[in-house]
Amino acid sequence: MSGQARPPVLRLRGVRKAFGSELVLDGIDLDIYEGEVVVVMGPSGSGKTTLIRCIDQLESIDAGAIYLDDELLGFEAVGGHLRPMDERGVNAQRRRMAMVFQQFNLFPHKRVIDNVTIGPIESRGLARADAIRTARLLLERVGIGDKLECYPRQLSGGQQQRVAIARALAMEPRIILFDEPTSALDAELVGEVLEVIRELAREGMTMVVVTHELRFTREVADRCVFMERGRIVEVGPTAQVFGNPRSERLRALLSELQNPIAQDVDVGNRRSLR
């Protein structure tokens, strides 16, 4: 956790979001600092995915505020009042973040290389040649350097998700948001995707990762957030949250690791949790 003295990259204050009568986010406060990896965990329906979709402005928030580098997201001050930003302003803010989706969401009608260059060319306005050069390097970095001209459907799930990570990196984002990046993958493909994320963490990329992968969390996350029913019930350094879980749900989740069914998922954790 470096750079605590500097202002956080991302700051959430009292964020609320309801779908109809259901309150999905109920007052979220969270700061994310430069170079930090924050993992968000929680049972399904706890609002993890909605949280990062709200950060990327794929959902609007009903109350509270989100700041990226001290800039309010989605609203601008006009004559002392806050007004929702127009699309152009929102897109300019989105360009400074990137998101990796659970279902990859690669563009199936575009080749791998075009999936990675579409953001730089069409959104950031880079020259085609420069975008291709960068995209090649990024794809090599995630281990897909030999599949530039393939279509996404010709790749395995793990390869597709790595292309999606390269597509996110091509935006040169301040922060990358991962929405359960390995949940749609076959068990044997999870490792290769987590390894890429681990590598990004080592390089100091600021990331928010929604995941159920506990061992990955313990190894990579600087801080850990546990959500339940739209609230953050636990937040702190990973070792502290894992070592001394206060909430009932988290304790239950962590103790599942000791149970034989979860054994092959997370063997490494069992000893340390005792």
């Binding site: 979709r53 990327d56 794929l58 699309e87 152009r88 897109n91 300019a92 989105r94 360009r95 973040m97 990137a98 998101m99 989706f101 279902q103 969401n105 690669l106 563009f107 199936p108 009608h109 575009k110 080749r111 290389i113 579409i118 953001g119 069409e122 959104s123 950031r124 291709i132 530039l148 001209e149 393939c150 279509y151 996404p152 459907r153 010709q154 597509r167 935006m171």
Partner: protein
């Protein structure tokens, strides 16, 4: 080539088809009333060629009109703005609900309702006006009647196509900071085309044939030109065959166009070649990966 598990069935099916085709051929040749000689002599008759041209022009203009009008109507129906959704829905309800024939006759007789057509600001000054009878020629009536009906159907096809594209695609595009237009034209539309083209092909083939309706307002289309001749010579069947021949030619061209466009927009997808028992489907060809130089 993969061996079929039951080659005998393949053989029997083929035999049945050949026998039926042979019988059909004998019927076509041996029935004197088809008068193939007459068919041949009228096939490229000048007035029929002119009728063919009119039919082709109406087909092309109505296709253009239906796509140019149908796309914004589809987008209206998908809009978050209630007024636009209602307008789009109302258009489809009205123009899909009225028979094309009724519309052609209505537009042709518009002068009874509005003697003059004027262009101006609603509830404001009139900028220009025309005599309705001069504007609404039989050709224009045909174009309006068919084109407006077609636009209603086409808008539904386009709307279905857009809805078929996974929501995650829009999320991914927006997440990259692409604006609404780029998201639509670079991400949504190319994928929607895959769902739009097959029903659109049928729709436009239907349109090509519906153009025969315009003969009721004395537009000299293909059917009308044929009718003019046989009402004089009474060679009804051979002249109908001439019309059939040319309709099939138009439809075949449209069909080839559809196949070409479907290939063009199926990039990145391995389409299955069909379903059913292996001996009916025949040999499966491996998908070919197009290779493009990155430069």
């Amino acid at each position: 080539m993969a061996r079929s598990p039951l080659p005998v069935w393949r053989l029997i099916t083929t035999m049945i088809v050949i026998v039926l085709l042979a019988r059909m051929l004998v019927f076509l040749i041996q029935t004197p009333n088809f008068e193939w000689g007459v068919v041949l002599s009228y096939l490229t008759f000048p007035s029929i060629m002119h009728g063919l041209l009119v039919t082709v022009v109406i087909t092309i203009s109505c296709t253009a009109l239906s796509i140019l009008l149908g796309t914004p109507i589809a987008l209206c129906r998908l809009s978050p703005v209630l007024a636009l959704r209602a307008m789009g829905g109302g258009y489809v309800w009205l123009f899909r609900g009225l028979p094309a024939l009724v519309q052609i006759v209505f537009w042709f007789n518009l002068a009874y309702l509005l003697p003059r057509i004027s262009l101006g600001i609603p509830f404001g000054p009139v900028l220009y006006s025309w005599s309705t009878n001069k504007v609404i020629t039989p050709f224009v009536a045909a174009l309006l009647g068919l084109g407006l009906t077609e636009a209603a159907y086409v808008s539904e096809i386009i709307r279905a196509g857009i809805l078929s594209v996974d929501r995650g695609q829009r999320d991914a595009a927006r997440s990259l900071g692409l604006g609404a237009w780029k998201t639509f034209f670079l991400v949504i539309a190319p994928q929607a085309m895959r769902f739009i083209l097959p029903p659109m092909g049928s729709q436009l083939i239907g349109l090509a044939k519906s153009t025969s309706l315009v003969s009721v307002v004395a537009t000299s289309d293909l059917l009308f030109s044929v009718e003019v001749i046989y009402s004089r010579t009474f060679e009804v069947i051979p002249l109908m065959l001439v019309a059939c021949f040319w309709y099939l030619v138009i439809v075949s061209i449209l069909f080839v166009l559809q196949v070409y466009l479907e290939r063009r927009f199926s990039q990145g997808r391995e389409e299955s070649r069909g379903w059913g028992p292996a001996w009916l489907r025949g040999r499966q060809r491996p998908a070919v990966v197009p290779s493009v130089d990155l430069g």
